[in-house]
Structure formats: structure tokens, C-alpha cells
């Protein structure tokens, strides 16, 4: 059982002051094995905060990030799954499933995590699963009205991944979960 936090589009301090207190109290160090972050933190303080939650931190470049050295895309292997990460402003049309599926094929990954639209999404298609963790701070977006703060926690266990989405709606944290199973792959070296 490997816990992976997918989070992004915080836009601190341009569009938001901080993570919602209810989220902050849930995210404690030592519980999560990996963090994958879609980008747009935007400042070093946020980077350091995420790093303090978990040293295995993977970030891709958002268009407002202060640090310009994050990669445009990133792939990593966790257990039996290959994960791909990309902020998403590079994929036109923004939020388009088919275009994201193309990126997924290009990166050759089972799970593609991307952001930019500030709207949580998790859907399965032929090539795998596409997840958008939304904006952890509920930051303003030109694409989505009424953004609720959200983030995703993936529990990777063998060939199965359970995706938990945490959304802050009207001051309460609501949790939903989605199950995905993949067909057995050729043996790949696994890293936790």
C-alpha cells in the first residue's frame, strides 16, 4: 500500500492566501510516500512546505511558478503503475480529454496527472486513467467558475489504485473514491 498525494494549482500568493485550514490539518508529515504536484505553487515557501510533508516530491512546471527549473513533464514508476505528470497549460485545448489521452500515450503511462483547469476530474479510458486534482486552495480560474478546493490521494496496491478525492464544499470536507484496476503488465522494476 503506497499513498501518493496528487496536488497542485495552489497559486500562492497570487490567487490564494494559503491552503484551507481543514486541509492543512489533514496533511501531516510521515503519512504519505510520494507527492506529485502539477505545478503553479507558486513560491518557494510552498515547495518547502510540500517537501516537509514528504521528501519524495515531484513537480512539473506551471506557467506562474517562481522557480523556472521544474520539468515540463515527468514520469515515475510506483509499484506496478507508471505515472505521468504535466501541468496541462501546454495541452491545447485545455482540459480536453482526447488531447490529454494523447499525452498519456506519448508518455506511455497508466495514470496521467495534470491540472491547470482547477477542476477535479478522474476518468478512465482505453489507455489508462487521467486525474486532475483540481486546485488545493480553490484559486480563481478563467476556465472554471466556483472552484472548490480539492486534492487527491491515491492508494496504490498491486494492480489496483483507489483514488480518493477530498473536496472542501461549503466549509466541509467531502470525500469520494474511485477504484481502478489495471490488467497485468510485463514485469517492470518497481520503486516505492
Amino acid at each position: 500500500m503506497v499513498l501518493v498525494l496528487a496536488i497542485g494549482d495552489l497559486h500562492i500568493p497570487h490567487r490564494a492566501l494559503d491552503l484551507p485550514p481543514k486541509f492543512k490539518s489533514m496533511l501531516v508529515p510521515g503519512k504519505i510516500q510520494h507527492i506529485i504536484c502539477t505545478g503553479n505553487l507558486c513560491i518557494k515557501e510552498v515547495h518547502d512546505y510540500l517537501k516537509s510533508l514528504c521528501p519524495s516530491l515531484h513537480i512539473t512546471q506551471g506557467e506562474y511558478d517562481e522557480d523556472a527549473r521544474y520539468p515540463e513533464t515527468k514520469t515515475l514508476v510506483i509499484g506496478q503503475f507508471k505515472l505521468g505528470l504535466c501541468h496541462g497549460h501546454q495541452i491545447v485545448p485545455w482540459g480536453d480529454l482526447d488531447s490529454l489521452a494523447m499525452l498519456q500515450r506519448q508518455l506511455d503511462v497508466d495514470i496521467l496527472v495534470s491540472g491547470h483547469t482547477h477542476q477535479f476530474k478522474a476518468y478512465k479510458h482505453e489507455g489508462g486513467v487521467v486525474i486532475n486534482p483540481g486546485s488545493a486552495t480553490g484559486a480563481y480560474s478563467s476556465i472554471t467558475y466556483d472552484v472548490n478546493p480539492s486534492f487527491v490521494l491515491m492508494d496504490i496496491d498491486g494492480l489496483r489504485v483507489v483514488v480518493y478525492v477530498y473536496e472542501l464544499i461549503d466549509g466541509e470536507v467531502k470525500v469520494d473514491k474511485i477504484d481502478f484496476k489495471k490488467t497485468a503488465t510485463v514485469a517492470t522494476p518497481s520503486t516505492h
Partner: protein, 790 residues
């Protein structure tokens, strides 16, 4: 020299102790054989050791304690009249025959205490007698110990309301008189302590005097324990006489110690009721007395009193505690002209703490304290000394902590005036404290007026104050500051759009003075706050009948334009470009075509003129394409102009692969999935074909320059785009076209000059898998895909 002195002292002490022990031995023998005369003789000799002048107070005390122990035994012997056969009255007479004064007086005190206890004479007469006679010893150390002995042995014999000693003639008053007199004499002796011998040093003398101070202070303690001393008596007799003694002795050390004693020893309710007298004494004290510590102690005790017993709060008002303390502090500060500024401010901090504890609802009092502080600080230059500035920060932080709410602090008119006196560095520290307080308490600042006051307060962070320049700052610190200000901006909010707009205008006014280094931090949050406001106004574009409404999207976009324009002139063109695009989208949603067009124009101009870095250009052009793709408000002409520009710039990116990708991204500009959206199949295909040509050219260039053609990845990407539009139903993308492209890729992969690339191989493979998957889907999709032969 001093070393010798100490050695000598030890020698003398040892001699003295030996003398006492020697005589004590014989005295015990005499007592055992009930021989009064002998006992007296040896006791007198014993006590003579206390006549020495050679010992320091510390050593004298040791000697005294030995003698004291022996006197206790003697006292017991005296009490047993049947053993020595002498009545107390006679004994009292007898001991007066002792040769030397000091032993005589010790013996008299010892007998006197028994005399009182026997009730054969009026306690008062005996006590009066004793206290008078002790006057005979004027040597400070000897006199102090003697009187201390007197106080000690009479302590439990004082006439008291509940004691057995109260008779008609004896009242509490007499007991009080006795103690006060002893106290007065002891104080005089103490003050008079002169330097002893050669080589004395003031510090040493002070130290010795300090060792003796508890002897004097003890009397006050005794006074406080006399039950009959109620508030009345304290107010009318005790306090005035003690204060008289304190003021008249004109001794710094004594004054400080005794004022402190009074405050510690007597109950707080008494202090509250005698504030006038107590405070009245303060300006009369010697100039060097650390009266501010005394006052601070007093205020602290009163604060704690108020905190522990809220029912006494009305009393505070009744005795006008605040007014008296405030005025006393003023007088002290005025009188002690040499008091350093840090001292004055510390006093105000104590007064403020008192006020916040005792009268937290009286904001006028709090403001008054700040006002007094301003008066004290005015006429001087800004504070430089760090202790003083620390105290000012403490002064300003206290209301924040107490009220937990910056808004309350903002109503204190003197608050900003105090801040003005801080040096720039401390001003900024204080500003950060204020911001932290707001964020910690999640306070929302909801009117333009309050925003104005707040930003005036924190102006050290907002702009360069006189004499400083941003360049002097450490970069990390500066970033932290500005990010804090940026976060603060999100705490400024009002649901009413008119008020929110006023807030934004006020914000803009302050921010714009920040200078080129600050604007890149502060403008984005302002822009996004404003965009949120615009969104709230959707559908409310009209004027309310009869009212002039300034919060219209149009006006707000004008504001935004001005603000972002400033950003582009301070060397943040990429940021400005992104913000223009955000505004363009917002204008699109607000149905304002010309406004949206204008924003695109600005974005393009920045791209043309300012974005030079090739990597930045790639990101920028994708942002432009992505935004443009979502625009549904443009008429044909405007749309054409903008898409033409976008495609043109895409093809002019520096690196061929970047060109290729940007151009095929542009294909989406001509196909919008909405029902009314543009679906121009031909122009889509034109873009895709163009990108294919670029990919080819890239291959050829690579072959020429590097000897191998690089990978087929671009072709695979374009293939995926073909498939995308094929699925969407673009008639121009035929199955044949797809088959040809697949064939092309296969050929390229097999040719010699291709560098094998596992990534593009995998991509190609998964693309083919996808096609296969779609073919097997059945239904319309399956039919479509049936045409493609792999």
C-alpha cells in the same frame, strides 16, 4: 589589600565567636546554679562582643546570631523567677547596671519583652521606653541589629485587637506607633551608613547596605500583620508616616527599596484606595530612583488584582485609577529629565498592559496612552536605540494580542502616529507583526477606509520610506515581505461590489507607489481579486435605476488595463502577458468583444516586443493559443486577425520542433467543439499539413547537421492529431490521410539514418493500439475506423 581585609575580618569574627562561646560557658554554669548575678555578668561580657566596629554587616550578622541564641536561653532563665528569685520589675532595674550601653540595651530588651508579657505594666509604656532608649546606639550596624532584636522579641507581644494585651490604654494605635518609630529610627541609621575604613568603594558600600535592607523592611511587614491595621488606619496613619520617612531620608537606595516594599507587603485593595498618596510621593523622590520599575510593579499588581477579582473593577473606575496612574507617569517623566527614552516607553508599556487588563473596553484610554507616548516621542528624531524600539514594538503589539483583531487597533488614532517614530527597519518588523496577526486571526478587512489606514500603517513594506532604498535589502527577506503583502491582499474583501471596488481603488493607490521591485509581487493578487469581482458582476452590467453605479465590468477592465500596463513597464513582460490573457478570458465571459480584443492586442504586443527568450516564447505562444481557442465572442474578422497572428508566430519560433508543435496546436483554433463553434475542417488540415512540412524540414536539417535524422516523434504526434480530428468528424482528415502518415512513419523508422528512440517507438505502438481498440469498439466509431487499414 582587600584580601588582607577579608582575612582580618574572618580572624576578628572567629575571635568574637570564641569570646561569645567562652562567656556563654560560664553563663550557663551560672544559670545552672541559679546564680543571677554571675549570669548577668557573663551575659554582659558576651554581649560586649557585639560592640565591635570591625565587621562587615554579613559577618556581624553571624556574630549577632550566636548572641541571639544565647539570649534566648537567658530569657528562659529570666522567666523562671523561682529559680533566681528576682522579680521582673527588679530585673528590669537590675540589668540597667550593666557597664556598657550596648549589652545593657540588649538585656533591657530581653527583660522588657518578658515584662510586657507579665502584664504587670502597660505594654505600651515598656515598649515606648525601649524604643527611646535604643536611641543611645547611633552606630548604623550596631543600632540596626539592636533595633532588629527589639522588633523580634516584641513581635508577638504587640497589642492587637485579638491579643490579650489590649487594655483601655493600649490600642492598636500604640502598637502601630511603636513599630513606626522603630522603623523610622532604623531607616535613619541605615541611611547614615558611612564608608568604613580606607579603600572603600561605592559598590561595596551599596552591597553592604543592601545586605541590611531586610532588617528595615521587616518593620513594614510587621505592620501589615497587625490585625487592627485596617484600610482606615493604613490610609490615615501608616502610609502617610511611612511615606514621610521615605521622602525625607533623601536616600536613593532606601527610597527604591521601601517603595517596593510597600507595594509588595500591603494588600492590593489598600493600594487601590491610596493611589493618590502613593503616587503623590513619586515625584518627590530622588531623581535617580528607578521609579519606573516601582510604578510598573504597582501597575502589574493592580492588573493581576483586576484579573483575579473582576468584581472590584468598578472600584478602579471609582478611584479613577487610570487617570491617576496616567498623570503620575506623566509627572515622573517630566521630573526625571535624564530618564532615557527607553525608560519612558517602558512605563507606557506597563500602563498600556494595565489598561488592557483593567479597562479593555475603553478604547479611548488605550488611545490616550498611545497619545501620551506620541507626545513624549515628538520633537525627537526617529528612534535608533534598539531597546527603545523593542519597547515600542511591545507597545504596539499589546493591543493586537489583546483584541486579536487588527480592526480594533485600526480605530486607535494614535496607533499610526506611534509607528511613525520607529526607524524604518523596526517599522517593517511591526508591519510584519500586523500582517501575521491578521492572517492568524483570519480577519477580513472590509472597508476601503480600513484598508487605507492599514496600508498607511504598513507603508514600510509597501514603498521606500525616506532614506531607504530597496536595493539595500536582503533578497530573501524582501521576497518574504512582499509575499506577505501579497497574501494580505486576499484578506481584503467585501460582498458589496461597490465597496469592493472602492477597496480595490484604495489598494491600487498604495501599491502603485511601490516601485519596480515590488510591483511584480503585488500586482498579480490585485488583478485576481479584481477578476473575482468582475465575475460576481456578471449579469449586472446595467445601471441601477436612479443610481450611479461605478462597479461595472467595463470600468473595472479599464482599471485592470492600467494596472497591468504598469507591470509591463517594470520588466515583467511575461507576467503581464499572462495577466492580459486572463483579462481577455474574463472579458469574453462578460460579453465585451472590444475589450477582449484589446487585451489580446496588448498580449501580442508584449510577445512581439518583450518576450525574447526562446523557451519563454514557446510557453507564451501556447498560452495565447490556449486562450484564443476558448474565445467565443469574436466576430469573424477579429477572430481571423488573431488566429492569423497566432499561427504566424507559431511558425516563427526558433527551433523547428517547437514550431511544429505550436502550429499543430493552432489547428484547434479552427475547430471548437461547442454547437455554435467554428468547425473549419480545411483550415485545420492546413495547419496539420504545415506542421508536417515543418517536421519534414526538421528531419532534413538534422540529417544535414548531425548525420542522423533524429526521431520520428513529431510525426507520431501529428498522427495523433489527425486521429483527433478524424474522430471529431473533420471531413478533410480522411482515413487515407491517416494511412499515408502511418506508412510514412513506418518507412522513416526503418531507414538507416534514423536514430532509434524507444520513446517514439512506444508512442507509435500505443497510437496503433488505440486505433485497433477503436476499430473493435463497434457502433459509429468502429465503422469510422474500419476504413483505416493498419
Amino acid at each position: 589589600m582587600i584580601g588582607n581585609g577579608i582575612d582580618d575580618e574572618d580572624k576578628w569574627l572567629a575571635e568574637g565567636i570564641a569570646g561569645i562561646q567562652h562567656n556563654a560557658f560560664y553563663m550557663h554554669r551560672a544559670m545552672d546554679s541559679n546564680n543571677l548575678r554571675e549570669a548577668l555578668k557573663y551575659s554582659a561580657q558576651l554581649l560586649s562582643e557585639l560592640r565591635t566596629s570591625r565587621l562587615s554587616p554579613h559577618k556581624y550578622y553571624e556574630l549577632y546570631m550566636r548572641a541571639f541564641d544565647e539570649l534566648r536561653r537567658l530569657e528562659m532563665f529570666f522567666k523562671e523567677e523561682d529559680r533566681h528569685g528576682c522579680s521582673i520589675v527588679d530585673l528590669y532595674e537590675l540589668v540597667q547596671h550593666a557597664g556598657n550601653l550596648l549589652p545593657r540595651l540588649y538585656l533591657l530588651c530581653t527583660v522588657g519583652s518578658i515584662y510586657v508579657k507579665s502584664k504587670e505594666a502597660s505594654a505600651n509604656d515598656v515598649l515606648k521606653d525601649l524604643v527611646e532608649m535604643c536611641r543611645g546606639v547611633q552606630h548604623p550596624i550596631r543600632g540596626l541589629f539592636l533595633r532588629s532584636y527589639l522588633a523580634q522579641v516584641t513581635r508577638d507581644k504587640l497589642p492587637n485587637i485579638t491579643s490579650e494585651y489590649e487594655g483601655d490604654a493600649d490600642t492598636v494605635m500604640d502598637a502601630v506607633d511603636f513599630v513606626l518609630q522603630n522603623f523610622g529610627e532604623m531607616n535613619k541609621l541605615w541611611v547614615r551608613m558611612q564608608p568604613q575604613g580606607p579603600g572603600w568603594v561605592k559598590e561595596k558600600q551599596d552591597k553592604e547596605r543592601k545586605e541590611l535592607r531586610d532588617l528595615v523592611g521587616k518593620n513594614l511587614h510587621v505592620l501589615s500583620q497587625i490585625e487592627g491595621v485596617d484600610l482606615e488606619m493604613y490610609k490615615d496613619t501608616v502610609l502617610p508616616r511611612v511615606l514621610e520617612q521615605i521622602v525625607n531620608c533623601k536616600d536613593e537606595l532606601a527610597q527604591y527599596y521601601l517603595m517596593d516594599c510597600i507595594i509588595q507587603v500591603f494588600p492590593d485593595e489598600y493600594h487601590l484606595q491610596t493611589l493618590e498618596a502613593l503616587l503623590g510621593a513619586c515625584p518627590q523622590l530622588q531623581p535617580n530612583v528607578d521609579i519606573k520599575t516601582v510604578l510598573s510593579q504597582l501597575m502589574e499588581r493592580l492588573s493581576n488584582y483586576a484579573a483575579s477579582s473582576p468584581e472590584v473593577l468598578p472600584e478602579f473606575l471609582q478611584v479613577e485609577a487610570f487617570a491617576r496612574l496616567s498623570s503620575a507617569i506623566g509627572k515622573v517623566i517630566e521630573a526625571q529629565v535624564d530618564m532615557p527614552i527607553v525608560g519612558a516607553i517602558t512605563l507606557y508599556v506597563s500602563l498600556l498592559t494595565f489598561t488592557l487588563r483593567v479597562h479593555p473596553d475603553r478604547l479611548d484610554y488605550v488611545d490616550q496612552v498611545l497619545g501620551e507616548c506620541v507626545k513624549k516621542l515628538s520633537g525627537k528624531a526617529k528612534l535608533e536605540e534598539s531597546r527603545a524600539t523593542k519597547q515600542v514594538v511591545a507597545l504596539l503589539s499589546a493591543p493586537l494580542e489583546k483584541y486579536n483583531d487588527i480592526v480594533t487597533a485600526l480605530t486607535l488614532s494614535n496607533y499610526p502616529r506611534v509607528m511613525d517614530y520607529l526607524d524604518n527597519g523596526t517599522n517593517k518588523v511591526m508591519a510584519m507583526v500586523i500582517i501575521q496577526s491578521i492572517m492568524k486571526t483570519n480577519t477580513c478587512i472590509s472597508t476601503a477606509e480600513k484598508v487605507d489606514v492599514l496600508f498607511e500603517l504598513i507603508k514600510g513594506l509597501i514603498k521606500d520610506l525616506d532614506g531607504t532604498s530597496v536595493d539595500e535589502l536582503d533578497e530573501e527577506d524582501f521576497k518574504e515581505e512582499q509575499n506577505s503583502v501579497a497574501r494580505l491582499i486576499h484578506m481584503l474583501h467585501n460582498e458589496d461590489p461597490e465597496e469592493m471596488l472602492k477597496i480595490i481603488y484604495t489598494l491600487k493607490k498604495h501599491i502603485m507607489a511601490g516601485g519596480p521591485k515590488r510591483l511584480p509581487f503585488t500586482i498579480p493578487p490585485v488583478v485576481f481579486s479584481t477578476l473575482k469581482l468582475v465575475r460576481r458582476l456578471h449579469g449586472q452590467d446595467g445601471e441601477v435605476v436612479g443610481e450611479e453605479v461605478s462597479a461595472t465590468p467595463k470600468k473595472i477592465f479599464q482599471l485592470l488595463s492600467q494596472v497591468i500596463d504598469v507591470l509591463s513597464s517594470v520588466q515583467s513582460p511575461e507576467l503581464a502577458l499572462r495577466l492580459y490573457l486572463q483579462c481577455a478570458e474574463a472579458a469574453n465571459d462578460a460579453d465585451l468583444e472590444p475589450v477582449a480584443y484589446e487585451f489580446f492586442t496588448q498580449a501580442f504586443m508584449l510577445y512581439e516586443e518583450e518576450v525574447a527568450d526562446s523557451k519563454a516564447q514557446v510557453t507564451a505562444i501556447h498560452l495565447i493559443i490556449g486562450t484564443l481557442q476558448r474565445m467565443n465572442i469574436f466576430g469573424v474578422e477579429n477572430r481571423d486577425t488573431l488566429t492569423h497572428k497566432a499561427t504566424g508566430y507559431s511558425a516563427k519560433l526558433l527551433k523547428k520542433p517547437d514550431q511544429c508543435r505550436a502550429v499543430y496546436a493552432c489547428s484547434h483554433l479552427f475547430w471548437i467543439d461547442d454547437q455554435d463553434g467554428v468547425k473549419d475542417g480545411e483550415r485545420v488540415m492546413l495547419c496539420l499539413k504545415r506542421s508536417l512540412r515543418i517536421a519534414n524540414a526538421a528531419q532534413q536539417m538534422a540529417a544535414v547537421t548531425r548525420g542522423s535524422s533524429g526521431s520520428v516523434i513529431l510525426f507520431v504526434e501529428i498522427l495523433n492529431k489527425y486521429i483527433y480530428f478524424f474522430e471529431k468528424g473533420n471531413p478533410q482528415v480522411t482515413s487515407t490521410a491517416i494511412e499515408s502518415l502511418i506508412e510514412l512513419i513506418r518507412t522513416e523508422k526503418q531507414s538507416d539514418h534514423i536514430t532509434p528512440d524507444p520513446a517514439s517507438d512506444a508512442f507509435f505502438a500505443s497510437t496503433l493500439r488505440y486505433i485497433q481498440f477503436q476499430k473493435q469498439k463497434g457502433g459509429t466509431m468502429g465503422e469510422k475506423y474500419a476504413a483505416i487499414n493498419l
